[in-house]
Amino acid sequence: MEIDWELVVDSFWPLLRGGLTGTIPLALASFALGLALALVLALMRISGNRLLSGLARVYISVIRGTPLLVQLFVIFFGLPSIGVTIDPWPSAVIAFSMNVAGYAAEVIRAAVLSVPKGQWEAGYTIGMSRNLTLRRLILPQAARVSVPPLSNTFISLVKDTSLASLILVTEMFREAQQVAAFSQQFMVLYVEAAVIYWVFCLVLSTIQDRLERRLDRYVAH
């Protein structure tokens, strides 16, 4: 196969632009919202309140037990039939953040439970309430434990945003599809897109390493 290098160079900018204005913002927005929702779900799970804990459990089970593509289609193609029409971009953000929340909630819950019980008691003995102990003492320690698994969740999310191309969101993979359809050079364009995804994820892994090292500064080795 002859590689059309001119096409590779010409298509590089549209693809990268799709990544920078589509993939990355979509992933960041979905992750931020997803984490906030995940924290709420995790706290519901450990609240000791049966109703709250049960609701969170069902949510997590549904999210983890159904394909992300199906969730995305329900929101974008399904909801209009009950009179709720949402644009592609917000549909994608809603679907991705709800999905990420289901996975991240379990990560956060496990991280909170991994903090020794003595830390809660030390908080109580200096007069703190449960909420203050959680916020000042437990969550900061849980954050350290959560960084590696949450980074994995984020990296998966970056790649999963390519599914948004199926609901017409202009992100990197959709750009690749469009150029490929026009030039009929599918191999070149899809490999090029794959390389750019990979570079994005390499950068994210580096950031993860730094974050872990920063958070490790108070831990004995």
């Binding site: 020794p116 003595g118 830390q119 008691e121 030390a122 109580y124 003995t125 200096i126 007069g127 703190m128 309430s129 203050l132 000042r136 003492l137 900061p140 320690q141 350290r144 500064r217 108070y218 831990v219 004995a220």
Partner: protein, 259 residues
């Protein structure tokens, strides 16, 4: 500083009829204790006798099924079915616990560990809390460690920070839960010295300990517990030198003559 003897007046802490079970297992049965202001009560007894559970009930970390914990000037908390969370938490403002495993906050420096309660709970100005913390650290000889993280300290140093963290809460009662049990033998002395100085300064304490020689030195009264009951309590000299109960005699004899 000499210790004032308030033993004739009303006690600072009165515990009566404390009962506590974990499931089927009755760990405390009808515990009565009194601690006068400026005095040190040592709780001794075999493992599993309920000493630590008593301490945890005083600090609201454990909820007894029945009984009353009363501090002079309040609060008086009667445990039962309807004890509110607020009542339990009110006990914590009167006492502060020093834990066997230190339980320092690993993500904070020594100084941050100490000022966390004063700043976040008591809403003291930060500068004031820092000044107080520095003074306390100097007392226990750790002023140079203020910006270190707990893992950079030895066990004995960590426990002295634990004591300072408790002191910074300005409690009326200090609770020590086997404060030297997790320490290497050569580090025990530093911690005991600090506790002894605090006793001499007039701090009121309840001390759970296996160090009988130390209990004899610092405690005014000793309570011997076994199987969830207080078998014997009285002046330290009497209980440790000439115990009245056979069970106490056996225990004291075995600890003082291990071989």
């Amino acid at each position: 500083m000499s210790r004032t003897d308030h033993s004739q007046g009303a006690p600072l802490l009165t515990v009566s009829g404390l009962n506590k079970s974990f499931g089927e297992n009755e760990v405390l049965r009808s515990i009565d204790l009194k601690v006068h202001s400026g005095q040190v009560l040592a709780l001794i007894g075999p493992s599993g006798s309920g000493k630590t559970t008593v301490l945890r009930c005083l600090n609201g970390l454990e909820q007894p099924e029945a009984g009353t914990v009363e501090f002079a000037g309040g609060p008086a908390v009667t445990f039962g079915v309807k004890t509110s969370k607020r009542e339990k938490e009110s006990l914590r403002t009167r006492s502060a616990m020093v834990f066997q495993g230190y339980n320092l906050f690993p993500h904070m420096t020594v100084l941050q560990n100490i000022i966390e309660g004063p700043v976040q709970v008591q809403k003291k100005p930060k500068a004031e809390a820092i000044a107080q913390a520095e003074k306390l650290l100097e007392r226990v000889g750790l002023e140079e460690k203020r910006d270190n993280y707990p893992h950079e300290l030895s066990g004995g140093q960590q426990q002295r920070v634990g004591i300072v963290r408790a002191l910074a809460q300005e409690p009326s009662l200090l609770l020590f839960d086997e404060p030297t049990s997790a320490l290497d033998p050569e580090l025990v002395g530093d911690v005991l010295t600090v506790i002894k100085e605090l006793a001499e300064e007039g701090w009121t304490m309840v001390l759970v300990t296996h160090e009988l020689a130390f209990a004899r030195e610092v405690a005014d009264t000793v309570a011997f517990m076994d199987g969830g009951v207080v078998v014997e309590q009285g002046p330290a000299q009497d209980v440790l030198r000439a115990p009245a109960q056979e069970r106490t005699q056996q225990f004291v004899h075995r600890l003082l003559n291990p071989f």
